[in-house]
Structures are given as C-alpha cells and as structure tokens.
Subunit: 395 residues, 2 copies
C-alpha cells in the first residue's frame, strides 16, 4: 500500500538542506514531487563535494523520491511551465531570502491566481521582515543566535562550541514538513489553501528551547534546584576510550557503584534516601565511579552497566553505527546501486505506518533526469520541447 | 481562527520529553489534548528540578495547551475511563518500553476494539524487538549509538563529546508529530486508523544522517573531495570572545580577507579562480583571517562581516537570545503569568499558518487540574466522581 501522503503533488524549487529535506520527508510518505532546478548544473547542493558521477552525497540525502526537471525560471516560457506545474499541484515549496520568489514571479500571490487552493510553503533565515531579514543565514550562525553554542560547553574545556551537524537546518525541515502536512489535513476538512512559513531562527530557537532554556522558563525568584540535564551530558573515560551512561534513579546511582565493584559504598547509609543527594555524597559517588571506570575497558563497563539496567552505550564510530546489531535489526540503513552513480546508502524513514507503509522511493535523481517525462505529462509534445530546448528554457 | 488541527482529539499518556513534546506540537496547532497522568504526583517530568509552586520548567515546555486528568490506570475503573476517552478520540499516544502498554490494557489491539478508526502512536527507545529492545534509553545514549558523539570532535581538543541538549528526544518528537499528522490526513482520505511507530534509535539516526553520514553515503571508491561541512563548524577567537562565520563562495572568502584589512591578499592571484582552493592558498587565507580576527573585537568583526554579506553571528548567551532584536521582532518568546506558578516564558511555534493561525494555547496544566471538567464531559456525575475519588481511581 502507498504511503499516507499518496496522491499529494508537490512542486519543490527549494535548495540546499532545509527545504529539500522537508520535502523528502513528504516524498518518502508517498507524495509525488517534482523538483524544479535551475539551468546548467541544477541546484546548489549538486555542486558540493563527496561527489561521484553526477551525484553529491548531501544532495542524495535530501532528495530521494523526487523527480527532477530543469527549467530556467527567468524566462517567460520557463515561468509559464512552473505555473502549469503549480496548477496541478497541492503544495509549492521555496526557501529563498525574502522577496526573491516575488521577483521571480512565484510569490504566493502570483501562484494563488493560478491555483487558489495551493498550500504555499516557505523557509527563510530570519523572518519575512525585521532587522536581520535580508542577512545570509547558515546553520552555525543560527546555532550561535539561539543558544546552542552558548550551551555547548564541555565542562573540561569551558569554552563555547558548535554542534557539528546542521541541527537548525534539519529542525527547520521537520517543522515545515509537519506544518505542510497539517495544512493539507486542514484543507481536507475545508480550510482554504494557505501560506505555511518557517524561519530558521524561529525553528532553531523552538527546537532548542524545551530542555535548553530551562533556566529562563520560570521567571523570577524562588525557583528550586536549578539543574539543566544537558549541562551534565558528559562522556566518562574508561581504560581504553569513553562511555556514556545516565543514572537517573537512586537505585541506578547505587548500581553504578556496584558496576565498579564498590558495593561497600553502594550499601553505605550515605548513598541511601535523602542523604544520597547531599553534595558530599554525590561527590564521593561520582569520584568512585569515575575512578572505577578509568580502570575498566569500555566493553567490560558497558556489559556491567547493562546487567544493572543503567542506560549506557559505547561511543560508536560511524562505521560501527552502520553494523550495529539493533540498527541492522531495524533495517535503518538501505544499501542499493544506482546505474550511474553506483552503490549508495540511505536511511529508512523513522516514522513507520502499519496501514499506509510506503515502499522505498526512487533514488535521488540526476539533474533534469525527468524533464521530458514531466513535460509530456503536461502535454508539451516532442516538437514543443525541442523548441524550449533550443531557446534554453529547459536543458 | 483555530489552528490547522482544530477538531482533532488526542489522548496522551506519554511521559518525559519525546511523547509529550510531539503532542504539544499538535496541541499548539489546535488539537484538543487530554493528558492522562498517573496517581499521586503525575508524570515523571513533574518531579524534576527548576520547580516552582507545582510546575517544573521542563514539564511546562513539553505540555502547554493540554488538559490534565489524573487516573490510576492500574485499576479496572481507571482503565475503563481511559477506554471511554479513547472512544471519543482520534489519536492515542504512549512512549513506554515495548510490552508495557499491552500489560496495562492499552495496547493497540485493546484500544482498537473500542475505537476501530483510532490512530495509535508510540515512541520507544530501540524498536519493538531486537537485541536492545528492552534496554533503557536516554538521549545521550542514542547520541553515542547513532554517530553524533563520534562527530562531535572539537578540532582543538580532538576527543568525542556530546551535544548538550536532547536532540534525539526532540527529533523523535518532531518525527512522531509529523507522522501522526500524516496518518490523520490519510484517514481523512479514506485510509483506516493505524499504528504510527517511532523508535528513538531510528529517529536519531535519520536526523543525523543527511549531513552527518556523508562519508558513508556513496559507497566504494572514486568519491571526489571528501568534505563534511559539520567537521568544519568552528568558532573563531576574537580579541574579546568568539565569532562564527561561514564563507561558502569565493567572493565571501575574499571578503573575509577584506574584513581583517588584508585587501592585498584578497586581490592577489592566489585568491582568485581555481588557485583559491589550492591547499597552500587556503591555509594562507585561513591564517590571515584567524590572525586578523584575534586582534578585533567581536562587535567590530561582526559589523564588518555583515557589511561584506558574509553569514556571521556573535555567540549569544541565553540572556542575550531573549532580547535579540530579530527574536524580539518575530515574537518568538511569549512571557505570561500563571495564577499559581507565576511568571513564565514559552516559545511561539515556528510553523506559522496564514489562514488557520492558532491562538496561544493555555499554559501547562497543574497536575490533574481538569479531572472534574473532563469526567463531566464523559457524563461522569458528581456522585460517581466522589466514588471514584474514594476508591483512589482519580485524585
């Protein structure tokens, strides 16, 4: 059976990560997506590194399940082709800076004249207006502006740092994917087509906030026991590497003492009841555990923590992630071979539907791969396509 | 006008972050949510620190817009109350370990007998079965298992580290929120009610993958120019702190040289065309920019980068985030006063809908605050409620 969004038609002119990844989430659930790419080389993400035979890794990871058409939007004929695609679509997605879509003739007002029920979806960096609206954005810039970098202090090296993956880009993608889906649902129940807007600044802050801004949630005095779990996220050295564990209950705290052979301390009155959370007893416990783990191998510590039902993991390298027994069991990673760009891996969508389970979608398309097929569906015949090609409207 | 999910009714028995935050996203879009909490103190998240007058900050941040009812699910009468809630609901959400819902009598099969069209949504740690299925999970454990910790190397201190916020919890929330919305859409178009499943392990890997696993996407030899942007996410020291910038185009790279007053180098042949990406020229440029920024204040460097249209930001402290001019302009942070727990802040949802814009939802409920109101809606009268209370079924 097809995915939950089977029958939904999307025209996607977005570039790089935030927009394309949002649309890929929907494509993986069965939406039919036409990706409109600019002339010559296609969208910016195709120009990146990690490249083989016409495919860049980051592009692939954000564009599975879409068909690609090359159109020069800056020609009147190209613009008319996009309008024609939009007439038959449910959703249009762009992620340019404010004003760009309007200048190109594909702003909301323009497209709504061609399709009144359209769901028009956009991501920009900072918002439609305001002091930063016209600035260029980039993931780490948003991390710096929304609290992540400030929070990313390693207690052992107390300086701010970045998260080394594009968390704000991706949070924006997920926010837009859900927003589009909600707008589709509302339209099904009678709401008009509408504009769903996400700015990366807003989405970055919204994603950070729930556990990141705990010190700024209850305002004023009398807040008891300030503690931000993230500030205590830390790796613990073992004899041959690091391990991560988290003992949240009193029982688990004592269990960590047993793991390192300190049953004497686990059974002591200082580690029981209210006494266990006194500063000096916490310090004694933490020191004993740290010292004990430093003398154990990661493997040994891991097994013993598991035996005591303490949440624990070794730090897997990316190679180890790919062959981890549970990740393999869950079928998270799909490996396949594309006739042109060869063997590749992709990740299976995490949301699994019991009744509308979608099949694995087509692999990321080569630039403009489906230009003829899509135009044929629009009724643009061989001769007309030859003319468009000659005039540089399509590649 | 109400949000896009107005009219959707959700019964939420989930705890801590992943489930509650997913449901809050839907509540903020107009879904009507009944949060069912266990007896005595309510769900686990209420017991945490950053607490004032019956409200914990993390609980508030995951539970705005829901009504709270206390029910002892382990009593037959309590279970029947939940069944009755489910009969009138569209969605049921739980995030227990595999098998727990079934033991409690609220597994999918149980509830479907009471509501055949129900969308049953669940989050667990590792999957329904497989080698780790019964382990306890915790956000940093998933970070370690899905590649984040391995990637989180600061080039200056090359050891793995964690992301200091619950990124896997939250990615799981967003994945489930979108999945539930897609299932609602599909049902509106004729699909049956179904089970939407997310495991944190899968969701963590899926969120990390697009830009995190670039080295493992195209498999085999002949991949050109391995480069993972995240590995180059780095703060640059200034005379009085740090700054983050990103020069992705050749023009922006030369602009960074002008920012530090090295127009001579910007105009040199080595920084133009293909020569600019030669290792020695990259190194020369990077060294000059780093040296120059070390002698400028953050404010000065920031302004000059902006003047040159290079994506840039200072590292804002959390206090500065709250008063940032663009964040203020966008109205991202809402401050209000609750009659019991006082002044608090919350974040405005990042997905903004032009036609079904929802109003700010009610603040996070006190434990069991709406027990009588909800039971009255179910037709449980004063006398019956008194009996339930006496028998310890409701608080």
């Amino acid at each position: 059976m097809a995915g939950p969004l089977a029958g939904v038609r999307i025209v996607d002119v977005s570039e790089m990560v935030s927009g394309p990844l949002a649309v890929m989430v929907l494509a993986e659930q069965g939406a039919s997506v036409v990706k409109v790419e600019p002339p010559k080389y296609g969208e910016g993400n195709r120009q990146l590194s990690n490249y083989r035979s016409g495919m860049a890794a980051l592009f692939a990871n954000c564009n599975h399940g879409k068909r690609s058409i090359g159109i020069d939007l800056k020609t009147e004929e190209g613009l008319e082709l996009v309008r024609e695609l939009v007439r038959g679509a449910d959703v249009f997605v762009q992620n340019w800076r404010p004003g760009v879509a309007e200048r190109l003739g594909v702003g909301e007002a323009d497209l709504r004249t061609h399709n009144p029920d359209l769901i028009y979806a956009s991501i920009n960096g900072y918002g439609d207006d305001g002091p930063y609206a016209n600035r260029r954005g980039f993931d780490p810039v948003f991390q710096a502006l929304t609290g992540y970098a400030d929070a990313q202090l390693n207690p052992e090296f107390p300086m701010p740092d970045l998260m080394r993956n594009a968390v704000v880009d991706k949070a924006s993608s997920y926010t837009l994917a859900q927003g589009i889906t909600a707008a589709l649902f509302a339209r099904e129940r009678g709401a008009p087509g509408q504009h769903v807007r996400v700015s990366m600044l807003d989405a970055g802050l919204m994603f950070f906030w729930p556990d990141g801004m705990l010190r700024h949630t209850l305002v004023g005095d009398d807040v008891e026991n300030y503690m931000v779990p993230g500030e205590r996220y830390q790796l613990t050295p073992t004899a041959d590497g690091h391990i991560v564990f988290w003992a949240s209950s009193a029982e688990q705290m004592r269990a960590t003492l047993r793991v390192v052979g300190r049953d004497d301390l686990a059974d002591s009155p200082g580690q029981r009841g209210a006494a266990a959370i006194r500063d000096e007893n916490q310090t004694e416990r933490a020191t004993a555990v740290r010292k004990g783990l430093a003398n154990m191998t990661t493997e040994d510590a891991y097994q013993r923590m598991l035996d005591h039902d303490v949440p624990v993991a070794p730090i897997l390298s990316q190679q180890q992630v790919l062959v981890d027994p549970q990740i393999t069991h869950n079928g998270c990673v799909i490996e396949a071979t594309h006739p042109v760009y060869g063997r590749y891996r992709r990740v299976r969508p995490a949301a699994r539907f019991s009744e509308t389970a979608n099949q694995t979608t087509a692999p990321a398309a080569l630039y403009a791969e489906h230009t003829d097929e899509i135009l044929e569906e629009l009724g643009v015949d061989d001769e007309a396509r030859a003319g468009l090609r000659q005039r540089g409207v399509i590649p």
